[in-house]
Symmetry: C2
Subunit: 409 residues, 2 copies
């Protein structure tokens, strides 16, 4: 949680965080600012100090809404900096950072870099700043032990927002189910009232609409994939595909609050009208693994242990898994879980060798699945869980787990 930041900075020998970019669709920035209309900012978080947000004077009033201390780039007029650097804009930008850091008393130590933005300029500017300020060392992390670590556990306000996004998500899933079951079928496919096939594109455009209606956003799209596509875990589905009865549909939806706030992550697998025996059998196996894991989740445990456990359970059923064959594209082929927050994928991670634990405040997915593209089918079931302060587990949004959606004849 945010209150761990100073300790995490200290433990990692980091004196300040520099978070660059907009205050929207930028998890590290939004963690401090919320979603506001600041299109370009620099947030400097000094260990033991209050965060300071530098921004364009045109966006000063929006910046003030964050409740953070704000300062204007105009304190260091860019035209003057450009004169000092004979017109070199990258050097001028580096000089501005130097003055910003110096004005905050940060002239030595380690600075960790954050922010989602176009990478070319910061790559050059930070390397130039490094030359200007040899007392500072700029670092970035492959597995961030500071901000991502703090974000790994959520406080009450964050949980409430993710829970609300869970309600939004399952509400939209329910509307999709209602839509599918309210239409007629013809020649084994779902059709509009004019007899034309309903396509995955038709469904997806309604999903976007219903999410917007609920005040949510769908920045990464969603997966609505049928048949063979359902057997390829990250196929998002083919827009022109009709919805054929008796084929598995993997519906994986991961929207966020408008502007790039908190996400939710959720998957159901459906068959319209009926499920062939083979699909039903795969589904029952995935559901059985899902339920076993649900009973076995325990606070304090390493999440990767459950990935191992999932592989063992599926292997005992005779399925290949990436544990025995990392290159397999059939059977169980992905990770069980990841954290959910301002990123749809964040700590804790469940990959082999990762030491992330389920802690009070953790919000994570459980998403076992089986994939057989060669047989034209795939199954995944996913819910987002919260580890309560007392160590008990809560699914943040309930939704039925029926494989078959009945359709009108």
């Amino acid at each position: 949680m945010k209150n761990e930041l100073d300790a995490l900075m200290q433990a990692n020998n980091v004196d300040a965080l520099l978070i660059m970019g907009a205050a929207a669709h930028n998890p590290a920035m939004v963690y401090f600012t919320g979603v506001v209309h600041v299109s370009a900012g620099d947030l400097i978080v000094k260990r033991g100090g209050e965060p300071v947000l530098f921004c364009n004077p045109m966006e000063r009033e929006e910046a003030a809404r964050t409740g953070l201390a704000t300062r204007s780039y105009n304190e260091f007029p860019f035209m003057e900096l450009l004169k000092e650097t004979s017109g070199d804009r990258l050097q001028a930008a580096a000089l501005r950072y130097q003055r910003m850091f110096t004005s905050l008393g940060i002239t030595s130590g380690r600075v960790a870099l954050y922010g989602t933005l176009e990478v070319g300029i910061p790559f050059m500017v930070i390397n130039a700043l490094q030359q200007l300020m040899p007392g500072l060392t700029f670092v970035g992390y492959a597995q961030d032990p500071i901000l991502m670590q703090a974000m790994q556990t959520k406080d009450e306000a964050e949980v409430a927002r993710i829970r609300r996004m869970g309600k939004v998500t399952t509400g939209v899933v329910g509307r999709v189910a209602d839509y599918l079951t309210s239409n007629r079928t013809k020649d084994g496919v779902l059709v509009h009232s004019d007899g034309q096939p309903i396509t995955i594109g038709d469904v997806k455009s309604r999903i976007d609409l219903w999410l917007a209606e609920a005040g949510a956003e769908n920045p990464e799209g969603c997966i609505f994939a049928i048949g063979r596509d359902a057997g390829v875990p990250h196929s998002s589905g083919t827009l022109t595909d009709p919805l054929r009865l008796g084929q598995t549909i993997v519906f994986d939806i991961y929207p966020c609050e408008a502007g790039g706030g908190y996400f939710y992550d959720f998957t159901r697998t459906w068959c319209l009208g009926y499920a062939p025996d083979e699909a039903q059998k795969l589904y029952d196996q995935v559901l059985s693994v899902y339920n076993t894991l649900k009973d076995e989740f325990a606070a304090g445990r390493v999440l990767a242990d459950y990935q191992k456990r999932t592989c063992e359970l599926f292997e005992a059923m005779g399925h290949p898994t990436i544990q025995t064959n990392p290159a397999t594209e059939e059977g169980y082929v992905h990770s069980l879980s990841h954290g959910v927050g301002l990123r749809v994928h964040e700590k804790p991670f469940s990959g082999t060798g990762v030491a992330d634990r389920l802690l009070p405040g953790s919000i994570f997915t459980s998403e076992p699945g089986l994939y057989y593209p060669s047989r034209g089918m795939g199954v995944r079931i996913e819910d987002t869980y919260y580890v309560r302060p007392d160590g008990s587990f809560e699914i943040l949004a309930d939704y039925p787990k029926d494989l078959v959606l009945p359709v009108r004849q």
Copy 2:
């Protein structure tokens, strides 16, 4: 345009582009890939060669939809790279890039960096790669003379997409106008049928909904600001504000195709019911400048000249401008224009000293405005223009310019 890329790379002594990140909400990547479900990729564009997209094998089918040559990260198994680097993930990532570049025959020369992503990892990885491959020099640009330069002029397919987004945008603006004029007023504010005030939040949620209905996205939100907020150019408006008659409303809307495709940019200023004399006078002045510029735009001219011209026109009317007082927050306080494409702000730019020209294929805004927060008002009029191949100018989406929206009594 894209067909200029090789020449631009040669002119800038660049041998390859490295574009990192997802194939959505990432302008440099989407320019080549379109919006597809590839959450992490590396596109290498070798001068004189075909672009090659490296991606996760799980996303291979989505990657193939781009029509680009694709290759899998699995050619360089990360677990083996990790062994070689004794578990150092940043070094392992650098090693993978080294092998990717080497496999494409790129071992010396200059590589320009692109892509929107979290900056900490690429900062470290590219610096490590620089050590591994001293023959390569990695560069980023403050004012990109290659990709941004190519993107500055649009081909027919791009123009068609932006024109379509123009229709979507003005369609939604029309629905907002219809909504405002169809509601009753009470005590000088617009009210719902239950007598409760209609707020800016109510309007904004409808804008998001109607954009989604049209298949568009609103990743940066929009400006719908009334009264004093309208006088602060980048105030996006206060969600709880009621819509009071006789106050200026600045409505600036800049949506994009779903997933982070092409944008449109558009502004109108409205007064509900009536316009006070002072607001009408400001409006007439802005419209007069807008119309003067419209007549004076000519292919081949430097866009910054029109910024200068705008300042002169407003100064002749007695308004302060940033030309005479760069710090002014009243009068004309921003730039006239910017290009529009996969970014809402891109080349050509109109800032003082910028040499960008209006060229056949340029798509740019004209957005003069006057701001008086102290008087509780602001005015801006903005359309997006296209310079046709024959050098004539086209407004990509027509929409009326009435200041006053009549309301029901």
